[in-house]
Structure formats: structure tokens, C-alpha cells
């Protein structure tokens, strides 16, 4: 057992995850807004923001897919100890974790069903930067329009076109996060 897998969790789980969830919820409710999130210290290559999101939302009920360089012993051991989450293939995951290119193709993930569109995967994407520029976002949660640096545009347009089915995205970078639900129109 690696000793560093045991550290880096929330110091006060109930309080820290309550604060972290509010940031995640604000991000999901107001697509394009960028929020600070703190409390977690996961092993590289995972960012503190991504670690905090996973500690807040994941447990033994939420199968995770680790993509690309996130699929490593350090990350597995850390997530196993702190969340107890099972690791699965893309088609079965509730959360997929990785960098954009490693997560592709998006067709691998569950979009939900027309009866239960909530049974769709959430992708947590580690980004090199997170800034209010680039793609223009409109839709629920956005008063006029918002700007967000997205890794590409076509994939999110195709995802939105399937509403109410579709994937939801959380973008993390360092200790900040933003989100893009399936309801947001991207241009």
C-alpha cells in the first residue's frame, strides 16, 4: 500500500464536501462560470479540482472510467481508498475522468435513455487552461451569453442536439472548475 494514497482527502469530509458541492452546483447551474474548489490533494496527474469533484460525488455506487494517463496506480489507489469506487469500461461508467483526447470518442459513453435521461455519464475533463473566452454558450442558466475555453466545439453541438439525452461535462484545471450540461448551446 502506498502511504501517499492515504493522504490528500478532505480534512473534514462533511463540511469540505458541502462547500465543494456548492461550487460544482453553481458551475452546473450557470454554465461557463469558473469557480475555485479546494480541499483535495490527489496524486499527479490529477488536479486538486478534479480530486475534489470526485471526493464530493463518487462512492461505491458510482463506477468510474479512468482514461489515458489518469489510469495509473497512484490515482487508482487514491480513489480506491478515499471513495471505494469501482473502475469500469467507458460504456458502464457514471463518471469518466481524463484529458479530452484520452476520453474520446464520446460515443463510448451512456447518453441515458428517453425514459431515464438522467442515466447518462458525466465526463470530468482535465484541461490545460480554463478561461472565459472562445466558445459562446447560451441556454438555461445563462442570462445573455457566456464564454468558455472548450477543447472543441463540434462535439458539444452534437451532444446538445440529442437533448434531453446527452453527456454532461465538468472541466477542471488546477484548483478551478467549470461545467457544461447537455442543455447548453455552443457556438
Amino acid at each position: 500500500m502506498q502511504t501517499n494514497a492515504l493522504s490528500g482527502g478532505f480534512a473534514d469530509p462533511a463540511i469540505d464536501s458541502a462547500h465543494a458541492f456548492r461550487r460544482v452546483m453553481e458551475a452546473m447551474a450557470r454554465p461557463g462560470t469558473i469557480h475555485d474548489i479546494a480541499g483535495a490533494a490527489p496524486p499527479a496527474p490529477m488536479s486538486p479540482a478534479m480530486g475534489a469533484v470526485l471526493l464530493t460525488l463518487c462512492d461505491a455506487d458510482t463506477p468510474i472510467y479512468l482514461a489515458g494517463d489518469m489510469e495509473c496506480d497512484a490515482v487508482r489507489a487514491w480513489l480506491s481508498f478515499h471513495t471505494g469506487t469501482p473502475f469500469v469500461c467507458p460504456a458502464q461508467c457514471m463518471f469518466a475522468v481524463g484529458r479530452w483526447n484520452a476520453l474520446l470518442p464520446l460515443s463510448a459513453y451512456s447518453l441515458g435513455t428517453s425514459d431515464y435521461p438522467d442515466r447518462a455519464a458525466t465526463l470530468i475533463v482535465e484541461c490545460p487552461e480554463l478561461a472565459p473566452k472562445g466558445a459562446t454558450l447560451t441556454g438555461p442558466g445563462i442570462q445573455d451569453k457566456a464564454l468558455l475555453s472548450l477543447p472543441e466545439i463540434d462535439a458539444f453541438q452534437a451532444n446538445q442536439a440529442q437533448f434531453p439525452l446527452g453527456l454532461d461535462f465538468i472541466f477542471t484545471c488546477g484548483d478551478r472548475l467549470a461545467a457544461l450540461p447537455r442543455s447548453t448551446k455552443v457556438a
Partner: protein, 285 residues
């Protein structure tokens, strides 16, 4: 064990994570009812078990909580839920709409417009707007997935055929972002116009029925109607007896055995604020 007898905000962490995931999916699909594994709460169904679970999942120790029941801060339901979270989450509480960060409500939207950063949590008895038209969950689920809402329009039409106008006065169905028909909980239809384009996040929790749904800020919400019978928010055609306000939703109170009555604001905080500002109605002492 610490000196605290309960986990922060009463619920255990795994339950809160499950509710939080449901809230996020609800925000991603505005108006869609997300199933969740509702827990037994230390209060009976019908007293806001859904709203309490949603509030417990979103509260942080920094929040200021306001709880209203039909607009009033001082009724049994509101007082007990407020003291429940005072004791289990240690949050500050208030009766002032503008000072609150989380507002749990039973059947009203505060008169004062809400702002960004606030969260409005509704207690919902029957989340399914089609339930009284179609009792089978398997069928209503199919109707939502096929966007088959003709039955709801037939119901509103029958209202017109029978009464000459749409007689539904509370829990008036709305369509969210042109997709899902949603039950706004039994708020008076007077409050329906406030649902859309609101700056605050709106979360709906139905404990017995095990559903959570949500409206992100600035979401388009349209009350169902017909071109020749447009939606009309309505209220008692009187000024408030205490504060004289003419634009707030009113409760009718019977004040004696001779049929005497008075109308007062249902939103107690709004009414008290107006009275403190010097407004006086005809029944004010």
C-alpha cells in the same frame, strides 16, 4: 464520536452524495424529474421531507436559512424545519428574504425578487403533473419521453368548457425550455411568472414520491394556455389589510362569527417590511 450527535446537516455523507448527483442531473435536464432514493426523515411525509433532504444536501455552515410555509415564517412547519437545521447543521437562520442564501419553501415564492447566489428549495407533494390524468408511472414516463402532453391541454380545455376559464388556480402546469411539462409544486398561479428567468437556483424535492427536479437560473418557463384563453396570474382583488399592498398575494382570514374577513399578505416578511416602512392598511392596528 465528537460532541455532535449527528453528522453535519443530519444526513450521512453517502446519502448526500446520492442527492447531490441527482441535483446535478436535474440542473442539466431542466424540468425532468430525477428519481432518487429518498430517506426516512424525522418528520412525516407531507411535511417537507423532500425539501429537507435537498436542503441538507446543499447547505454549508456559512449559509443563512429561511423557511416559509405558504409565505409565513412563523407557522409550525416552517418553525420546526428551521430549528431542525439550526440544531443539525448549525446554520444561521433569518426571516428576511434578502438576508437568506437558502430558502426552503412550502407553496409560495417570496414577493421580493431573488438574486444570484440564492437557492430556493421547494417542498413538492406530487411531482408528476400528469399523475391525476394518468395514474400509471410507466405511462407518464412514456408520455414525458415522447413529449406527449396532449392530455394536459385536454384537461385545461375541459376547465374552459365547464367554467368558461381555466379554473386551475395552484400547481398550474408549466413547460420548461419548450421540452418538459413540470409541476411547479402547489404554488398559486400568481407565482408562476416568477418561475421563469429567476436569478436564483430553484430545486424541487418530493420525498414520498422520490423525485428531485430543478430549474437553473434564467430558464424559460411558460405556463400552459391557449391563444384565446391566455394564462392569467390571479389574486384576491383587495389591498392587504395590514400593509395596504396591492401587488402581493393575499390570504383571506375569517375574523369573527359574523362572516367578517380581512385580506393580508401571505408573505409575512414582505408585509412586515412594508409596515416597518410606514405603509398602513385599513385593518392595521
Amino acid at each position: 464520536m465528537t460532541e455532535r450527535a449527528y453528522n453535519f446537516a443530519y444526513l450521512d455523507e453517502q446519502t448526500k452524495r446520492m442527492i447531490r448527483r441527482a441535483i446535478l442531473k436535474g440542473l442539466a435536464i431542466p424540468g425532468y424529474q430525477v428519481p432518487f432514493a429518498s430517506r426516512e426523515m424525522p418528520m412525516p411525509y407531507g411535511w417537507g421531507t423532500g425539501g429537507v433532504q435537498v436542503s441538507a444536501a446543499v447547505l454549508t455552515p456559512d449559509d443563512t436559512l429561511k423557511v416559509i410555509d405558504q409565505g409565513a415564517d412563523d407557522t409550525t412547519n416552517a418553525v420546526s424545519i428551521r430549528s431542525f437545521f439550526q440544531r443539525t447543521a448549525g446554520v444561521a437562520t433569518t426571516t428576511a428574504t434578502r438576508d437568506a442564501t437558502v430558502i426552503q419553501t412550502r407553496h409560495r415564492i417570496p414577493e421580493e425578487p431573488l438574486r444570484e447566489g440564492q437557492i430556493l428549495v421547494y417542498q413538492v407533494p406530487i411531482p408528476e403533473p400528469l399523475r391525476f390524468l394518468e395514474p400509471r408511472e410507466s405511462e407518464t414516463r412514456k408520455m414525458h419521453s415522447l413529449e406527449d402532453y396532449g392530455l394536459m391541454h385536454v384537461k385545461l380545455y375541459e376547465d374552459i368548457a365547464r367554467h368558461g376559464h381555466i379554473a386551475t388556480s395552484y400547481a398550474y402546469p408549466v413547460k420548461v425550455e419548450g421540452r418538459y411539462v413540470m409541476d411547479p409544486s402547489p404554488i398559486p398561479k400568481f407565482d408562476n411568472p416568477k418561475l421563469g428567468n429567476m436569478a436564483a437556483i430553484q430545486l424541487f424535492g418530493a420525498g414520498r414520491e422520490q423525485r428531485i427536479y430543478a430549474l437553473p437560473p434564467y430558464t424559460q418557463v411558460v405556463s400552459l394556455d391557449f391563444d384565446d384563453h391566455p394564462f392569467e396570474p390571479s389574486k384576491a382583488d383587495h389591498p392587504c389589510g395590514m400593509c395596504g399592498g396591492t401587488d402581493s398575494y393575499l390570504d383571506e382570514l375569517i375574523v369573527d362569527d359574523a362572516g367578517g374577513r380581512m385580506f393580508v399578505c401571505s408573505d409575512t416578511d414582505y408585509c412586515e417590511g412594508r409596515q416597518a416602512a410606514g405603509h398602513k392598511g385599513k385593518d392595521a392596528a
